[in-house]
Symmetry: C2
Subunit: 383 residues, 2 copies
């Protein structure tokens, strides 16, 4: 086989969907996957199975790859610094990625940039046992949110604190904790931008994201009835953050929209993001193609949508564990539904795929996307 152009660390569905874009562009990916049957390992020929925390494995994977990118944010920063020192361009690089890896560093950095975000406090419960009470006093009581600064995702490592005793599990985690004031919000938005190694930036339309049990569940692009000035402000905010943090690739900025129509930063992700999956079927250039273009220093593609609305709904593991038996039913129900299955075993609540419907009638598009996902998840053929 010829040398790869790009190493991708992590064999999840994001790497799998990068491969669809890579095939078109003629980009050869070498994958580091956690198992031979991982989602992306099923569809990438040039792969190594191993542990991304093992520096020797990482070195083997990137050996003849000039550029390295990621399916997830969990590679130890010290390893990335070593790979960079050894001549491999990590994109995003460790200096940027740390702000997606550590929520405490992210909050502290965004504060210096003057980015709108919740009031917060960082403390180590071992040396600061009154951290919870002190934060409650400062923000005027409960409720608020405690998060571990590292390693949490999809609702894991997050605790909602309605009274002091709710903090017990968080304190028992033995981890540095981030306390965040609970932001009253009317909905969640996502600002997705690509930033190329050349510095070029491209912003996708601002999407609305509906969470369920702490996980992204449904995304509507563009966010309905969003004030155009606020949409512009959110895009510019994401571009500024990408530039200030030196992000290369896709940056997703998860936002709260407050009742008084302001935006507040919730989370950052430096990789293709669930809130951008609609772009595979709904935009001229998907977030996966633009991520590849960005990390390889290529010019970015148009983020224009094909139709007025794109609605994506996740397929979570549910009652039905045989997705393939449902696939034909979903196809038969609606010939315009775009189906994405990740090749993963079904477990309750696990993201195993998504569906997207694009069109010009909002109510119709939303109803059809939900109906298709419901058929996958619940196996329910009734309306």
């Amino acid at each position: 086989m010829s040398s790869p152009h790009l190493a991708v660390i992590g064999g999840g569905q994001l790497a799998r969907m990068m491969q669809q874009a890579a095939i078109g562009l003629g980009i050869r990916i070498r994958l580091l996957a956690e198992g031979d049957d991982a989602s992306a390992a099923q569809v990438i020929a040039d792969k190594i199975v191993g542990d991304y925390t093992d520096l020797d494995i990482l070195r083997e994977v990137v050996a003849d790859c000039p550029v390295v990118t990621f399916d997830h944010e969990h590679v130890p920063p010290a390893h990335l610094q070593t790979l960079e020192a050894e001549g491999h361009a990590c994109r995003p690089g460790p200096a940027a990625l740390v702000y997606a890896q550590d929520k405490g560093l992210m909050r502290t950095k965004l504060a210096t940039l003057g980015v709108p975000q919740p009031d917060f406090s960082l403390f180590d419960p071992v040396v600061d046992p009154n951290g919870v009470q002190n934060f409650a006093d400062r923000v005027g009581g409960y409720p608020f949110v405690l998060k571990t600064t590292r390693g949490g995702y999809d609702g894991k490592g997050v605790w909602f604190i309605y009274k002091e005793s709710d903090a017990a599990a968080a304190l028992a985690s033995g981890r540095i904790l981030l306390a965040e004031a609970k932001v009253p919000f009317v909905r969640e938005l996502s600002a997705l931008v690509a930033r190329s190694a050349s510095g070029e930036v491209a912003a996708y339309p601002i999407a609305e994201s509906v969470q369920k049990d702490g996980m992204c569940h449904e995304v509507v692009s563009p966010a309905p009835d969003l004030d155009p000035a606020l949409a512009k402000e959110a895009q510019q905010l994401a571009i500024n953050i990408a530039e200030q943090l030196g992000v290369t690739g896709i940056l997703a900025v998860e936002l709260f929209e407050t009742p008084d129509r302001r935006i507040v930063v919730n989370e950052l992700a430096m990789r293709p993001h669930n809130t951008g999956h609609w772009s595979i079927d709904g935009a001229v250039t998907s977030q996966f193609e633009n991520h590849l273009r960005a990390v390889l220093g290529m010019p970015l593609g148009s983020t224009s949508p094909h139709r007025s609305w794109a609605v994506m709904v996740n397929i979570l593991g549910g009652v039905v564990d045989d997705l393939e038996s449902r696939r034909a039913l979903v196809m038969a129900q609606d010939c315009e539904v775009k189906i994405h299955l990740y090749g993963k075993n079904v477990k309750p609540g696990r993201k195993v795929g998504h569906v997207t419907v694009c069109g010009d009638d909002f109510d119709d598009v939303v109803a059809r996307a939900r109906r298709a996902a419901r058929l996958f998840v619940e196996g329910d053929t009734h309306e």
Copy 2:
């Protein structure tokens, strides 16, 4: 690895583009490729390298695959019959595929179906040395066309006969020959349909195809200024042929449009076809996804286009042999161009990729698609 759902015989760009669609649908492909670095072998993990004329290799590839499909039409029909007898569903099956493999059988069969096609004659020059003269007498002289009945493609195995002596090379081929009257035509059209194993059919818009040196070069979908009644007739003709020949998968019917606005069948192909590549970026469901759905007996997807026009131009091997060095230039020139590189070494005249532009302004879309392809082929950055 889990068992594959589908075996694909042949590692060319059609199998490569099938894989993009298969990733989305969660369909696992096992590939038989002619080399480990063949176009599709680069992007399919589960693959065997071997010779598709070797029955034992075919048996190894399809062993745990219920369904078999094809990147090309060259697998010996007897082998396909054996695989079918051994319980593997070949789609399209040998009884249909023979009409794409043998132009003589195709003409004879279409004649029995009353399909409009050129006057023709089949003869073996060894036993019928006057075959050329007899055909010339019958159709009123020259010019006409001689073709080998098997093995020709992209202009190979085709001779234009302007006088009797032009037939020498064809006669010397030692092959059964098909003589076809030359059809006066104003342009070439393509009618592309998918037919599922269930019998369901779906037709794409009729496209116009511009040939260059006997190869498809540029495709515009839909064909500009085509009489809607003739478009409907062409779609219905392709559906009828698919049904009458028992085709499963994509059927491409290449047509001549005559000066008096009739359609005449030129060639058939029973696989995704160059004239349908525009559908990857320009339609709700690409021809590759519908081919997979069809051969696996799934309901078909919508063939609706995203925009008013889609224009595809092939990238043929030319002056520039480093496509990757051109890729970023093409991207920089036009952020809406969709690039498809096949991972093949550049040889003069070889199809190594294609570009597609979609939009609503016909002249603009045509000009931009041509400009992008020219930059790839000629390395010319000037207008």
